[in-house]
Amino acid sequence: MASDNTKDKSKSPWNDPYADPYISIENITKKFGDFTAVDNVSLKIYKNELFCLLGGSGCGKSTLLRMLAGFENPTSGRILLDGQDMAGIYPYDRPVNMMFQSYALFPHMTIEKNVAFGLHQDGMHKGEIRKRVADMLELVKLEDFAKRKPHQLSGGQRQRVALARSLIKQPKLLLLDEPLGALDKKLRENTQFELMNLQEELGITFVVVTHDQEEAMTLSSRIGIMDSGKIVQVGTPNEIYEYPGTRYVADFIGSINLFDGNVVEDEADHVRIQSEDTDATLYIDHGVAVTEGSRVGVAVRPEKMKLTRNRPDQADNVAEGIIDEVAYMGNLSVYRVRLKSGKIVKATLPNLDRDTEQFDWDEQVYVSWKPKSGLVLLS
């Protein structure tokens, strides 16, 4: 996929064919009996990245994470970390630490002991451990809770303990399994930014597993979307959102209006599609190399849709319908519009001013969008 909108191409190692990947996952497959949890996955992750593995439950993202940590051995393929093959290296010998979804804090140890655990295993000098633990607790703002036990802390505090414990050994790679899953919405948003700041500050490479697309969009440098054990698409949040490669990705990230139709005109700089859902043809300003007449989908994000009472002055990308449902969300309004064909499309309009015009139930409207707003999906 073309990435002409990536802000600074030269700074992104994934666009540099000569850059060395920090973690190199090569043709990894993991089978549990007959079930293939991870299916021939290859992935390159670069130093200082915050890489998100995103997917629904059972897509194989957690299994992939556990193979990076060393809890599962791949059925085939290999994992290289900083050039070193990880095969046969036990979890306790890997320069990789993990923050568990359940946090897995040792209930019989104080916060201090929990955080110090990893350093104790390395046989570090007691004084040094105390100093490092104190620094780390200060970093996660828990210095007052050092002597408490995990069950005496709130969910957000426990999350920070788990983070501190996994960071203290300064691993080459930090794995985070649904790091914010157990927190409520408000706390989650704050913690997201804290996590990003920490990552920048410490310069540790993060791999995060999550099912929450919003979390993935906010946190990551790049996202890898997984489905049924395979990586379906890898890209920056912007690429994934604006240029989803498949219907699955388009549908999984954000919401989407999808029109099915046949290609009637396919040139280098545009494509025209006839859809049963709209009277007007669909015109997109990029070419797709397919034979005319082939069946494709056209995806348009709801916020790229315009609503007007009068027919807009354009021949393509317009459809007539009536307002079926209105949801006022405060910052924006969501409209469901029933087109003449019966298809329902969704349009979101920002409420820029207090008196931004609102549409009413059963009002007749026109839905329209620009040629560069649509995206042709071949699969």
């Binding site: 036990y90 979890p91 306790y92 890997r94 993990m98 568990f100 897995a104 040792f106 209930p107 414990r165």
Partner: protein, 328 residues
């Protein structure tokens, strides 16, 4: 519910009145009264009354009779309280039984020996039971059920008969000696029956399931991600066992040890069948005082002393059970 309970309560109170002088009795009566306030009392009061009357109050009688004198009569003890003429009450307390326990080495030795035997047996139960419980907890679910069933199964068969089985194995012409002699390892049978060794064996054998089951229940609940976290932070499996699994299984160890230790102290059947005449255990001494010597007051004093001896571990067990049930 409440209406049905009150007359019952009254009737019981009248039965209880004669013993209301004793602290335990007054305590129970006051609790019955206090309980009449809420509506769910019906549910609480039935088991409460039953256990109060048939478990708690009987101890008051043991205490009472331990303070009386042994006489040749039916029942063979003197009355503590005599109702004199014109309502005069005279109280005859006799601490002689307790003094006798202190004076005679036999009793003191029996208590110490019982504690020693129970303690060592508990230790061996833990030593054998812990790896077994660990193994069962780590087995696949299908195997786990079978392994667990095999632990419980002996418990369903007669305890007495299982102890009896050891006689056949340990006798001079028993199975073990026959095998050892048949193999030419020994020429003379080793005397195993009627020794302390046989008593240890019998107690460990009989109480092993009581150690394994609470340990299993604890180890099975252990969160596997804690071990993964330990491993992730650089801790090798054997060390992870000692710093994570073992400390977290302490409640199971305590519960199992108490379930073995406390009844083992007062064990009667095993020393009676497998032990020799010099295997002194306090349960057996109590039995002999009661059935052979018919000295009920002394037997009661032995029981009270045993109870005092066991109060600390019983309270400890209680405390742990409560803490566990609150945590879950």
């Amino acid at each position: 519910m409440r209406a049905g309970y009150l007359p019952l309560g009254k009737r019981l109170t009248s039965v209880l009145e004669p013993f209301a002088n004793s602290v335990v009795g007054r305590f129970v009566v006051s609790i019955f009264g206090a309980l009449g306030i809420t509506g769910r009392t019906g549910v609480i009061s039935i088991p409460f009354f039953w256990l109060g009357i048939f478990f708690l109050i009987p101890f008051a009688f043991v205490l009472k009779i331990s303070l009386s004198e042994s006489i040749l009569a039916i029942p063979p003890y003197s009355d503590l309280i005599e109702w004199g003429e014109e309502g005069l009450i005279s109280l005859h307390l006799n601490f002689g039984n307790f003094l006798f326990l202190l004076e005679d080495d036999l009793y003191w030795f029996s208590y110490v020996n019982s504690a020693k035997i129970a303690l060592i047996s508990t230790f061996f139960c833990l030593l054998i039971g812990y790896p077994m419980a660990y193994g069962i907890a780590r087995a696949s679910p299908a195997n786990r059920n079978i392994l667990l069933m095999l632990i419980i199964l002996p418990f369903w068969t007669s305890f007495l008969l299982r102890v009896y089985a050891w006689i056949g194995l340990l006798k001079n012409n028993g199975l073990f000696n026959n095998i050892l002699m048949g193999l030419g390892i020994i020429d003379e049978p080793i005397v195993m029956m009627q020794t302390d060794f046989a008593v240890y064996l019998g107690i460990i054998y009989s109480y092993l399931p009581f150690m394994i089951l609470p340990l299993y229940a604890n180890l099975e609940k252990l969160d596997g991600t804690l071990l993964e976290a330990a491993s992730d932070l650089g801790c090798k499996p054997i060390k992870a066992f000692f710093v994570v699994t073992l400390p977290l299984s302490i409640p199971g160890i305590v519960a199992g040890s108490m379930l073995v230790f406390i009844p083992a102290v007062g064990e009667f059947v095993i020393p009676a069948l497998l032990g020799g005449p010099d295997t002194l255990m306090i349960g057996r001494v109590l039995w002999d005082e009661f059935f052979n010597n018919r000295d009920w007051p002394l037997a009661s004093a032995v029981a009270i002393a045993m109870l005092l001896f066991l109060v600390v571990p019983i309270m400890f067990f209680q405390y742990f059970q409560n803490k566990q049930s609150e945590a879950s």
